[in-house]
Subunit: 230 residues, 2 copies
């Protein structure tokens, strides 16, 4: 959803593949911790819930890193995927909004451990500013511009209420942030060169409800119930 139609030729890795690479990476890290040296596409596919042909095609976009008859070297593949995703360098992340969700994100282990460093927590509420959360002191939102410049923040995470999100987004972009992860339930308006990914908890629930309804409708036998007719 972040790709734009007017983009010049995109000679790189398909978006659908990029979205799956982190999944493979996590599975591989699990194998690595268990000391498993090699893995076949079938095994890795089973561990990630992906079709094995799709997995092979995904990996083929990175290069030919497998060995026929054997499989893939776990450590080498971890390195290659990490490199492709840009995780061999550290990215500084600022979290704006230290409510329940912001705190959850700050304490979420997955962030700090691999490739991401939480550079700052920012909030507007006086009762939150100054408190320590996840080893960091929450700073006031007014220092956003300073923090982004000084800490070289390139990814902003918006966990504010919906009303504040666009304003925060604009300020992030104004100081050079070009990647934004948005948890606020609004559609952010951004220029073309900025990537936005959105995570919306209630949308996910609504999609589940749709399928759940379909299942229980079938169970009950009452098919189309076309009551209203203009």
């Amino acid at each position: 959803m972040t790709s734009r139609p007017s983009r010049p030729r995109d000679r790189g890795i398909p978006e659908a593949t990029v979205a799956r690479l982190p999944l493979y990476l996590r599975a591989l890290q699990g194998l690595s911790e268990r000391g498993i040296p090699t893995v076949s596409s079938g095994e890795l596919a089973a561990a990630t819930g992906v079709n094995s042909a799709k997995l092979r095609k995904d990996l083929s976009h990175l290069g030919s890193y497998g060995t026929r008859g054997v499989g893939y070297d776990v450590e080498y593949l971890i390195y290659q995927i990490s490199r492709e995703l840009g995780l061999t360098q550290d990215w500084s992340v600022a979290i704006i909004g230290v409510g329940n969700l912001g705190r959850a994100l700050a304490n979420y282990g997955g962030f700090g451990t691999r490739g991401f460093r939480i550079a700052a927590l920012l909030d507007a509420a006086p009762e939150v500013v100054g408190r320590r959360v996840a080893g960091l002191t929450v700073r006031h939102i007014d220092s956003l511009e300073d923090v982004v410049s000084n800490e070289d923040v390139s990814i902003g995470v918006i966990a504010t209420p919906a009303k504040a999100a666009q304003g925060v987004c604009d300020r992030l972009i104004a100081v050079g942030v070009t990647s934004i992860l948005n948890f606020a339930p609004v559609v952010l308006n951004v220029p073309d060169h900025v990537d936005v990914r959105k995570v919306d908890l209630s949308i996910e629930l609504q999609i589940l409800a749709f399928h759940e309804q379909r299942k229980s409708a079938g169970r009950q036998g009452s098919d189309w119930v076309d009551v209203l007719d203009a």
Copy 2:
């Protein structure tokens, strides 16, 4: 496919459309609160960041609810989308795992307002059980089976550590839950009739990092040599 000309409606709504319906719904509810009675596909498309033709095609899967020359009746469309998503009934949700994330979810306003009722919060840690969170008393995980049966829970939200997730998932399925929203960073193993949606915070960040890396690589002019396909 296999659309019968005699039937006005084809009930098979594409998955991509289903994923966007909640987006339209939220925008429409905003219009409704502002007292706007009708909206054109162009306006609604602008508000949701979607191509207007795509929006019309999405809505056409629900039926012909628009008026040519005028647009769509906001209230009527809200009702139709809600009905299609199954939000005209209330769904009971159980949240398992009341850590930082679980608390954030419990306090997330968007749940209760839109067809979802948090029926229970469950956790295994003694220091959490018994505490009140978001107006509910946290119950011990051992009462999961009782809660699901008595409260008619059909959607389970897993916000536990990764290690506990599969076990909780199995127990949910064993008592009849068929829709699961999983925040734990593991691939859940479930039978075919169970729907799982996964929200993974670090995966989203990694996808952003990929695009960010590509942008800064271009800016910096690294030793990347682009090779045109033959």
